[in-house]
Symmetry: C2
Subunit: 144 residues, 2 copies
């Protein structure tokens, strides 16, 4: 497998988990977060990448993460607007080839796709996972 | 398909989305939330169930939702501890057959399974979805 230069924006539970997994898989990973304390979520064993403290909606912060070398950016903060901004700047200003954004509001996903961004919507996929369990329960024939 | 009596705990984005879908599918749905304002997320078109305001970690709140009739309870608040409490009370005190909980902390999932609870971990499944996209990008042969 090729080793990619990956920027993960947001070091919350999801961003940290992804950064750990990608770093462990041999990718070069830079994590950006506004709060240095968030980096405590990175695993000492799994994560061997870099940390950049700053607002990823600011191009200057992305530059400090050497975005010009990035193959891929994942915007995974808790704020849809920050994710959209960081993703669009990465794609349009810095020409990052693969740009993915977490989007909480399912109604926004189509717009993101129109903009050429790949998306993961935790609300939608968690609901689908629950519905899968519910349908299995229905099939198992619970009392009506 | 059988119609189930379903209690959804937590009317945030996920709980409301699920409640809308399940009600729309013909199930009898009761949603519990501590804040009445959360019920605004329910869809006027899709949701024809009931709303109960209260703390679902309190058995009295579950009783007001007629939990003794429930086939299924989904604990989908933002608080792992509230979800665990509501799920265990539903299962152990009221004998609800199918109990599912949202769990944010992936490290807790195994314990929940040991307790007989089904789980959905948005952090884990969102990370898996992102990793799927990353692997596809790798396969597409981005520059190394």
């Amino acid at each position: 497998m090729r080793s990619l230069y990956v920027i993960v924006v947001g070091c919350g539970r999801l961003g940290a988990h992804l950064a750990n997994l990608l770093s462990h898989d041999g990718h070069r990973v830079v994590v950006i977060d506004r709060k240095a304390t968030s980096f405590a979520r990175l695993s000492v064993e799994a994560f061997s990448g870099f940390r950049v403290e700053g607002d990823a909606a600011q191009p200057e912060t992305l530059r400090r993460a050497h975005i010009e070398r990035a193959d891929l950016l994942v915007a995974a903060t808790h704020d849809d607007n920050v994710n959209l901004m960081a993703a669009l700047v990465a794609q349009r200003v810095f020409g990052v080839k693969h740009v993915m954004a977490r989007v909480y509001d399912p109604a926004r996903e189509e717009t993101y796709h129109d903009l050429g961004l790949e998306t993961v919507c935790p609300t939608r996929i968690a609901a689908e996972a629950f519905l899968g369990l519910v349908h299995r329960a229905v099939e198992e024939g619970v009392r009506a």
